[in-house]
């Protein structure tokens, strides 16, 4: 589904160049729910921004559904973002001037898919994520958890190959976080969605099939859940993170 090979990205600030990604390699299979974890500055968000083509990268390859992204022109990239990717952001990125329903339908409208079938799909997603009763409301009038579930529904409206989520629970309380993670699980289980989520939250990551640990711009290691109980997987995850941070006993 997604293959990242030797991805490199650096930023310049004045005369200094900061290398953020130093040759990242990873792959995500169809129907997987994968988390990327790592300390601040490890390059998690940069990795996600490169995969979503929000920022250009220096070197490497990103292949999505068999399509290499690096050589695509601006128009083709827009098509990839619209048809093959769905996005969920920490601060929701909903348009305040549009209702919940219009926000969910926005990627479909941008893609020129404005039939009733899409409207019905939007309604189904609203009901699926428990936001059917607020579909006429505006973002300013709903809670953070509802906003993020709206964002998840929006990410799924075009039935993308991959959902990219950047700290989706970062601005939420524990109850809302749980609801959002459940939305991803349900999207994976019932709608066959593939999810790549960047998070700081070991609790949220413990629901994933696999966790990729990133440190100083490279992949430090990978942990697979493989049917383990969630609590046990979270403990294993925390141990690995301690080890990565040099705190292991």
């Amino acid at each position: 589904m997604l293959q990242v090979k030797n991805l490199r990205k650096s930023y310049r600030a004045g005369k200094t160049t900061y290398e953020i990604l130093k040759g990242v390699n990873l792959a995500v299979a169809q129907g997987e729910f994968v988390a990327v974890m790592g300390p601040s500055g490890s390059g998690k968000t940069t990795l996600l921004n490169c995969i979503s083509c929000y920022i250009p990268f220096d070197q490497g390859e990103i292949t999505l559904g068999g399509q290499e992204l690096k050589d695509l022109d601006e128009k083709s990239l827009a098509k990839v973002r619209n048809r093959k990717l769905g996005f969920v952001f920490q601060d929701f990125m909903l348009l305040d001037g549009l209702s919940v329903q219009d926000n969910i339908l926005l990627p479909a409208i941008i893609g020129g898919n404005t039939g009733t079938a899409m409207e019905q799909r939007g309604n189904r997603l609203c009901d699926f994520f428990g936001i059917g009763q607020i579909r006429g409301k505006y973002p300013a009038d709903i809670s953070g958890g509802e906003k993020q579930r709206t964002a998840v529904a929006r990410a799924l409206i075009n039935d993308p190959l991959l959902i990219l989520a950047d700290e989706p629970t970062g601005n939420l309380d524990s109850k809302s976080s749980r609801a959002v993670i459940s939305s991803f699980e349900e999207a994976r289980n019932k709608l066959s969605a593939t999810v790549l989520m960047v998070t700081h939250d070991s609790f949220a990551a413990s629901f994933c099939d696999r966790v990729i640990l990133l440190k100083d711009g490279t992949v430090y290691g990978t942990l697979e859940r493989k049917g383990k109980e969630r609590g046990g997987f979270q403990d294993e995850l925390l141990e690995k993170i301690k080890e990565m941070n040099g705190d292991a006993a």
Binding site: I55, N82, L94, P107, I110, G111, T116, M118
Partner: protein, 700 residues
């Protein structure tokens, strides 16, 4: 289901405040500039402000300042709009909309909004100018010359300004959408624009640069003309550059450090940090406000500067009525004037009249070398010189001149005194016999009625010798008298003035700069006199004796105090009103820009104030923090603009004659009064804005 067009319409409807703000800012910018240019290019005004004259240059200079100010303000309002749009456009792009589509929609929206607002401003600018002018006519002064006419070409300038704004918006939009990093686009709304921290000496150095630039810019053209003998002084305006750099440094220092040290540094830390982190737009706005306030004061002070000096000159005249005329003219005699006065029940007292002579005086003429260069050449017949004998002078003034043979005393104004010294010599020539005599300067004398044009007083024997055989056309008579109850003699003064005009011959229908001696000398040398080459400067007409052009320009214009006092506002009506209009436009722009800037303080910092509230800041603290920002936005430009213009006027007045005369000091005092009044208006508007901003931030 909705399509992208309907979504766009929905977003516009929900965010109409942003569109209204952009529309209003562009509309008012173009409205003010169009109104200004309508007046500036009006034939009514151009007829009064001579081409190439200082007044017209001043109007143009303030227009340039206003255009830059309104242009920067328009771009600022557009940048606010793009900041708001950035999140919307960024989300669309992230969700897969193509750049082409978003840019098309963005340009359509911006251009429709901007073009509509700008065109409305351009269309309504002239009616606004007309309305303000009609209000002047209704409530201040109305004369035949105040009838306003418009030149359609003014619209070309207004349209050029509009086109400039639209092009700037287009370029801003293109740069905005062309960025490759979508994260930058979506985060632009929350991006701060801090100014770099500056050293504590930054502000004081700025003041030094301002002073140095102001002096250098003012003196450079004079130095160029005097030392290098060239009129190509346009480039010397570059000497003003340090002034603007200094001004920018002072404003940055004000925003970054403030001028108060010690405890208050911490007390104002919240407001200062907010200003600092929007530093670029804060400083740019303050710079524009400072320049506009300075422009407004420059226009406002022009009237009292001119008016006060004139009023004082009038009030200090030693006699009520005075006029001079060529001896070959059939002007009313003493008995005729007394009869005229008796008819109007006016008692003439202290009648004095004297014979004077117009002689040729030598001098140095500036001769053009082409390409803006010139050199001086000595001319035996340089120009006219009015002379009077010592005894006639004593008869006229009651004071002895005590002039020695071979010397002359010059009757001078206070400003001109000191411009001659004992080494100065002049060669006077009888224009009929062409006999010449050389005279040395002895002393200067004061007598208001004979200071402009200046009279030379000669020893009686010398006077008789040099004027022997002088034809009547070169002889003049100078008449002075007083009246009882001067204030009641306006009708008599006007009648006498018209009688003098009616009985003056066509040879006297000339401007005060008309110089027969220089003309004869040029013609005898086989050249054309410059006055003949510029007939537009020399035009006065007996047909319009009450026009300001005639009364200000006629060579033989009588000095009747009651007439001048009553008609001064009428004579200078257009002139005064133009500058009043300009100051209104500049102040309107100041209030508009200041208000918009302060409103954006509220919009940009809403979250910060919420955070401060959550940290336990009391309403009083929040209020002080808002006041700190709003007061700086209005206060710093107001203070700097006012001080600047005062300093500039003092410098000009002092540099003119190395002194500040009583008239000039009084004019400065009047200007200070006006500045105080306008500062109170500015303060009231600041209080109004402060209340609005506090209400927006829900601070009681």
């Amino acid at each position: 289901m909705k399509n992208l067009g309907k979504i766009g319409a929905e977003l516009r409807r929900r965010n109409r405040k942003q569109y209204t703000l952009l529309s209003a800012c562009l509309f008012f910018s173009v409205l003010l500039i169009t109104a200004y240019v309508s007046i500036m290019r009006s034939p009514t005004v151009l007829d009064i402000l001579p081409e190439g004259g200082d007044s017209r240059k001043m109007v143009m200079m303030i227009f340039a300042l206003a255009a830059v100010g309104c242009g920067v303000f328009s771009i600022y309002s557009a940048s606010l709009f793009f900041r708001y749009k950035s999140r919307e456009a960024g989300i669309f792009l992230m969700l897969g909309a193509s750049r082409g589509r978003i840019s098309k929609q963005l340009f359509k929206e911006v251009m429709l909004t901007a073009t509509g607002s700008c065109l409305a401003g351009a269309l309504l600018g002239t009616p606004l100018a007309w309305c303000i002018w009609q209000l002047f006519r209704a409530f201040l002064v109305d004369t035949q010359e105040m009838k306003l006419s418009f030149d359609p070409q003014a619209y070309l300038i207004a349209l050029a300004f509009t086109a400039g704004i639209l092009v700037a918006l287009f370029l801003m939009g293109r740069a905005f959408i062309r960025r490759t990093n979508l994260i930058d686009i979506v985060n632009q709304q929350h991006k701060s624009e801090p100014v770099h921290d500056v050293k504590p000496w930054f502000g004081p150095l700025g003041i030094v640069l301002m002073a140095a630039g102001g002096f250098a810019g003012y003196l450079a053209p004079t130095i160029m003309v005097r030392m290098l003998h060239t009129y190509q002084t346009g480039w010397t305006k570059l000497f003003y550059l340090p002034f603007f750099v200094g001004l920018y440094m002072v404003l940055i220092h004000t925003v970054v450090h403030g001028w108060r040290q010690g405890k208050s540094r911490y007390r104002n830390i919240a407001s200062r940090s907010m200003m600092k982190f929007q530093g670029r737009q804060t400083v740019n706005n303050m710079l524009v406000l400072t320049v506009l306030i300075a422009g407004a004061y420059f226009a406002t002070f022009n009237t009292p500067m001119m008016g006060t000096a004139q009023i004082m000159e009038m009030e200090n005249r030693p006699v009520d009525y005075a006029f001079h005329y060529r001896a070959d003219q059939n002007l009313p005699s003493r008995s005729e004037i007394e009869a005229m006065a008796a008819k109007d029940k006016v008692a003439v007292t202290g009648w004095k009249d004297a014979e004077t002579a117009v002689l040729g005086s030598d001098g140095r003429e500036e001769v053009s070398d082409g390409g803006g260069k010139f050199h001086f050449e000595y001319r035996k017949l340089g120009g006219e010189c009015n002379c009077i004998s010592e005894s006639e002078y004593r008869e006229m003034t009651g004071k002895a001149a005590d002039v020695q043979p071979g010397r002359f005393a010059a009757v001078m104004s206070e400003e001109s005194a000191g411009k001659m010294d004992s080494d100065d010599k002049t060669l006077l020539t009888n224009m009929t016999t062409r006999k010449s005599m050389s005279f040395g300067f002895q002393r200067s004398l004061r007598f208001g009625m004979m200071a402009s044009p200046s009279y030379y007083v000669l020893d009686d024997a010398d006077y008789a010798k040099i004027t022997a055989g002088l034809a009547e056309e070169w002889c003049e008579r100078l008449v002075c008298f007083n009246v009882k109850d001067e204030l009641q003699t306006y009708d008599f003064a006007k009648e006498l003035f018209h009688e003098i005009v009616n009985r003056s011959g066509p040879e006297c229908e000339v401007d005060e700069d008309y110089d027969r001696v220089a003309k004869i000398a040029a013609n005898e040398a086989g050249k054309a006199w410059w006055g003949d080459e510029h007939p537009e400067i020399m035009k006065v007409s007996y047909d319009q004796p009450d026009s300001s052009q005639f009364r200000i320009g006629w060579k033989y214009m009588p000095k009747f105090r009651v007439l001048d006092r009553n008609d001064m506002v009428r004579e200078y009506a257009v002139y005064f009103m133009v500058f009043l209009f300009i100051s209104i436009i500049c102040f309107a722009a100041v209030l508009l820009i200041g208000y918009t800037r302060c409103v954006t303080i509220a919009v940009n910092n809403r979250r910060v104030y919420d955070d401060l509230r959550h940290l336990g800041a009391a309403p009083g603290y929040l209020f002080r923090s808002v006041r700190g920002q709003v007061s700086k936005t209005f206060g710093a430009p107001g203070l700097i603009g006012t001080v600047l213009i005062f300093a500039y006027f003092v410098m000009i007045l002092f540099m003119n004659d190395s002194q500040i005369t009583r008239e000039e000091f009084s004019a400065l005092a009047v200007c200070a009064g006006i500045a105080l009044g306008l500062s109170i208006v500015l303060w009231a508007f600041y209080r109004f804005t402060l209340r609005r901003v506090c209400r927006m931030l829900k601070i009681n």
